[in-house]
């Protein structure tokens, strides 16, 4: 992350200077900082709501049930996590929320899963294989119905916007499987934690 941050900032300043947009780059610091705090604050309410609901789901045994259901898959994908760990149930809930397009719910649930993965992590400042796998699957953004895209298409008078669902599903599944395979390969190649 150190290099990525350094690289992004340095290259922006150099490119900004070359393009004569240095003033814009400087202004972007302020807007970026401003937007990030707004994003975090806008998360508070919905985060509280979903963490509350998830706590109920946990206490009533729903998370436990899902965890047991997914044991075989979880054993393969998250081989380092004890497979009765409730992180597995949370991860499953996170993906269901994502798949159904409930992005607002997916983030709080996903963060809760991260917290549980962190508990079984050996080195608290370094990402574990399970975390890398979880985020690889997450960044692939698996979604059954791309609701926002359909809304835009309806807005411009697209006659049959639902025809986009099937091709999107193929693309998102490919990316999703690609992410899992890539993470598995790196898990073997990359040095231990």
């Amino acid at each position: 992350m150190n290099y990525i941050f350094y690289f992004l900032v340095i290259i922006s300043i150099i490119a900004g200077a070359i393009n004569g947009k240095l003033q814009d780059v400087v202004n972007a610091i302020l807007t970026g900082a401003d937007v990030s705090v707004k994003v975090a604050f806008s998360l508070i309410g919905i985060m509280a709501f979903w963490l509350g609901i998830m706590r109920i789901a946990e206490k009533s045994g729903i998370i436990n049930f899902i965890t047991k259901l997914l044991k075989p898959i979880a054993k393969y994908l998250f081989n380092e996590v004890p497979h009765d760990n409730k992180a597995i149930g949370d991860i499953a809930m996170c993906f269901s929320a994502n798949a159904l397009g409930l992005t607002n719910a997916a983030t709080p649930i996903g963060l809760k899963a991260m917290e549980e993965l962190q508990e079984v992590n050996k080195d608290k400042s370094t990402a574990s294989n399970a975390m890398c796998m979880f985020l690889a699957m997450n960044t692939a953004g698996f979604q059954l119905v791309p609701a926002t895209v359909i809304a835009v298409l309806v807005g411009i008078g697209y006659k049959n916007p639902t025809e986009i669902i099937m091709p999107t599903l193929i693309v998102t599944t490919t990316a999703f499987l690609g992410a899992i395979i890539t993470a598995k390969i790196f898990q073997k190649l990359w040095s231990e934690q």
Partner: protein, 179 residues
């Protein structure tokens, strides 16, 4: 009932049904739903505040990158190759932006949709790219930030490779379905 109405119906009902099931199961099992809800919700504020420093770092860096004009430079470099694959030049910034910022990607997509209209190949390809993407940089910053992890190992590289796989798949599928 058309297919589209059916989809709308599903998106309307998923959230209420999930909440209904969780609450009903909980009440049947004699869980104190109100106490447990508020107990869980307490953490909402903490988590949101925890991610601020990480969010600031990544979002400032990305907004600087977008302001620097580098993305336009990449666009020029790539347009030659992509023309041969019959990819409209206007879709190129979308491919770069979609990993960086969700709102920006949606903005670029709306722009393409409005300029090219509903029947164009550009709109359909752009819809595929946006519909199948997640903002990798944002997800990594927020998720790792919430548990204070700074050494991300191969997570970033995996995310970028997954994004590239997604774009290639989108181009291939769009050619199959819409060209």
């Amino acid at each position: 009932m058309t297919f589209q109405n059916f989809i709308n119906l599903i998106s309307l009902w998923t959230l209420p049904i999930i909440i209904l099931i969780i609450l009903t199961v909980a009440v049947c099992k004699k869980v104190h739903v109100y106490e447990e809800f508020t107990e869980g919700a307490k953490d909402g504020f903490k988590v949101a505040i925890n991610i601020i420093p990480y969010l600031v770092a990544i979002m400032v860096a990305i907004s600087m990158l977008r302001a620097s004009g580098l993305i336009d430079m990449c666009e020029h470099l790539m347009s030659g190759i992509l023309n041969k694959l019959s990819i409209p030049a206007d879709v190129i910034p979308l491919m770069i932006v979609r990993s960086l910022s969700g709102s920006a990607a949606l903005g670029v997509f709306s722009d393409i949709a409005n300029n090219f209209g509903p029947d164009s190949y550009a709109t359909k390809l752009a819809a595929l790219i946006v519909g199948s993407s997640e903002t990798t940089f944002y997800v990594l910053a927020v998720y790792f930030g919430s548990v204070k992890i700074s050494k991300v190992r191969y997570a970033m590289l995996t995310g970028i490779i997954a994004d590239i796989i997604g774009i290639v798949a989108a181009i291939a599928v769009a050619r199959m379905f819409f060209l």
